[in-house]
């Protein structure tokens, strides 16, 4: 079934619902033990640094689900939508293996294959494990991971260990059944559909048991939580504490995506998602207890490419059918590319630590200046290399007198493609300006004359002078310019209210 997207009404789109901001401290992995860092250093979903260089893909082999979440609509399938659980083409395990090898040969930066849906991978154990089994034989240089709601996790742990899957993500939205009853209308358990509080109780018990079993076996566990304002927002700090105590190594708090046109319970009930500010505040609060992840892009269950991009259309079934893949040759090329990236990262790391020393000397001389948010347009590689008008997302950095910190990303419609895709009233430029609220500078490789004025009027200074420079260096340089010009002594220009 192929449903068209309904244009969001202005009322719905002006809320915070389409907030996609995540964020992470610059060295989110630095406190981890060496053996864990070695496992995640080239995993784009776990390492903020890696996500600038390495790519991931999901294969949609798992259509069945054993629970219902109020933010999910099982009928939905649209290739224009990017959110979890949405997928265009369900694959057989054989098709999935072929697709993974085709992508790995053509995108050598692809290090990770995940199974994440569109249902729950562990509710489709035969299809999921057949895919893993064949891939671990045929493509041993690809990391395998799986994402689950946790209901069938305890009974799957043994099988997971067999396939050498060292990363598992569990979506845990609550540890209190009263909260859970507002998120999950039912679970399928012991041959029965169970509803209400009892359903949440079963799900929570299974998730916690599965988490304990995995960490006891040394499998890395990341916990995803969907932040649902008024339902579990205040509860998630507690979730963070509990899962950290049980050994989860990373917590990823994601914003609820709920729009009426998605046909979900929350979407139709008008349940708002969090604003950029609310999400960041909660992530900061949880960060006290737990290593937070802020660069998550909430990918589709069939996403292909770098985080934030989707090259799935290049690898549809009919296209991979015609591809001849010489995997042994591809593996050699992949190893070279990975080694090259590793060298680049090492050089960067050295330059960074040298600079840190310098900054710490300089910052002693300078008075405390206010922090500034800057938006950056990038295609990857850790440099400013995207035109303002072509960017479908902006990375957000916070500069202070002490350092530059990545705090998240915001999606938008590329301004140059705006017009015809964005129907009702608000132009693509208006939407981008609204999404960039709070930022004082936007750094890109180029920015046209037309958006320049409206950006300035909104208090966002366009800047194309740092094209191809490393993001952190450029942000630090612009911050320094602002300081020298006395712009940090005054409060930011009041931003124009979005039309």
């Amino acid at each position: 079934m192929d449903l068209p997207v309904i244009n969001a009404s202005p009322a719905a789109s002006s809320g915070g619902c389409d907030s996609h901001s995540c964020g992470s401290t610059g060295d989110q992995l630095s406190h981890l033990p060496e053996h864990i860092r070695a496992k995640v250093h080239n995993h784009p979903c776990y390492s903020e640094q890696a996500h600038h260089y390495f790519a991931r893909m999901h294969v949609a082999v798992a259509p069945a689900c054993n629970i219902q979440c109020h933010y999910c609509n099982r009928k939905y399938d649209c290739s224009n939508e990017s959110r979890p659980g949405v997928v265009s083409e369900v694959l057989t395990p054989a098709q999935a293996v072929k697709k993974v090898m085709a992508v790995a040969a053509n995108i050598p930066q692809m290090t990770v294959l995940g199974i994440a849906g569109p249902g729950d991978p562990l509710a489709n154990p035969e299809r999921t494990f057949a895919t893993f089994r064949e891939l671990s034989e045929k493509a041993p240089d690809i990391k395998l991971c799986v994402s689950t709601n946790g209901l069938s996790l305890p009974e799957s742990v043994e099988e997971l260990c067999k396939h050498n899957i060292d990363h598992v993500t569990i979506t845990i939205n609550c540890v209190d059944p009263d909260v859970g009853a507002k998120i999950y209308p039912w679970v399928f358990w012991n041959n029965k559909r169970v509803t209400g509080r009892e359903a949440a109780e079963i799900l929570i018990a299974q998730q916690q048991k599965g988490l304990e079993m995995l960490t006891a076996r040394g499998i890395l566990v990341k916990v995803n939580s969907v932040m649902i304002p008024g339902i579990n927002d205040e509860h998630l700090a507690e979730v963070s504490k509990v899962v950290k105590a049980k050994g989860a190594f990373l917590h990823n708090v994601m914003p609820l995506i709920a729009e009426p046109e998605h046909g979900t319970f929350y979407g139709l009930m008008g349940q708002p998602g969090p604003t950029h500010e609310e999400l960041q505040k909660l992530q900061d609060a949880c960060a006290g207890d737990m290593n937070m992840m802020r660069h998550c892009r909430q990918c589709r269950a069939d996403a292909v490419g770098m985080l934030g991009e989707d090259r799935g259309q290049e690898f549809t079934l009919d296209k991979i059918e015609d591809m001849e893949i010489d995997y042994p040759a591809a593996m050699v090329k992949r190893a070279e590319v990975h080694a090259q990236i590793a060298r680049e990262l090492e050089i960067k790391e050295q330059a960074k630590s040298a600079k840190l020393e310098l900054v710490s000397i300089q910052s002693q001389k300078k008075p405390e200046a206010r922090p500034v948010l800057m938006a950056v347009a990038t295609k990857g590689g850790g440099v400013i290399n995207e035109h303002f008008g072509h960017a479908s997302e902006f990375l957000i950095y916070e500069a202070t007198g002490i350092d530059v910190r990545f705090i998240g990303h915001r999606k938008t419609t590329p301004y140059c493609e705006g017009g015809d895709t964005c129907g009702d009233g608000e132009s693509a430029l208006d939407r981008t300006i609204r999404e960039l609220s709070g930022c004082e500078v936007v750094l890109c490789s180029k920015v046209g004359y037309e958006p320049w004025g409206p950006l300035e009027a909104a208090g966002i200074q366009p800047n194309g002078e740092h094209a191809m420079e490393a993001i952190e260096d450029a942000v630090a340089a612009v911050y320094e310019e602002m300081r020298a010009a006395g712009k940090l002594d005054v409060k930011p220009v009041v931003q124009r209210k979005a039309a």
Partner: protein, 102 residues
């Protein structure tokens, strides 16, 4: 005595492995139940298994043609809201069709 899967099925496979009689099979455009094999799970389970995991309201009917999971029973979305959503989807679909043929 047999249940029936109708066109609102989204082909999610969830029911197929649960059937104690292997009465459910993949077909185009959607899964079907072999009426000769279906026992409605009587003697095996308290509830019909396919209807207990199916996420789509109205997709599985009793022998009398009544939905085992009527609208609103699984998602909690009221009939009124559901009708509004379906009207909006239909309107957009028709608009897209009109734009295509124009």
């Amino acid at each position: 005595m047999a249940l029936e899967i109708i066109e609102s099925c989204v082909n999610c496979y969830a029911c197929e492995p649960l059937c104690p009689n292997q009465a459910i099979y993949q077909a185009s455009p959607h899964f079907l139940i072999d009426a000769d094999k279906c026992t409605e799970c009587i003697g095996d389970f308290l509830d019909a298994q396919c209807a207990s995991i199916c996420p789509i309201e109205g997709a599985i009917l009793t022998e009398l043609g009544e939905p085992i999971n009527p609208p609103g029973s699984l998602t909690g979305i009221s009939l009124e809201l559901l009708a509004k959503y379906q009207a909006a989807v239909e309107a957009t679909y028709q608009a897209a069709l009109a734009a295509k043929s124009a």
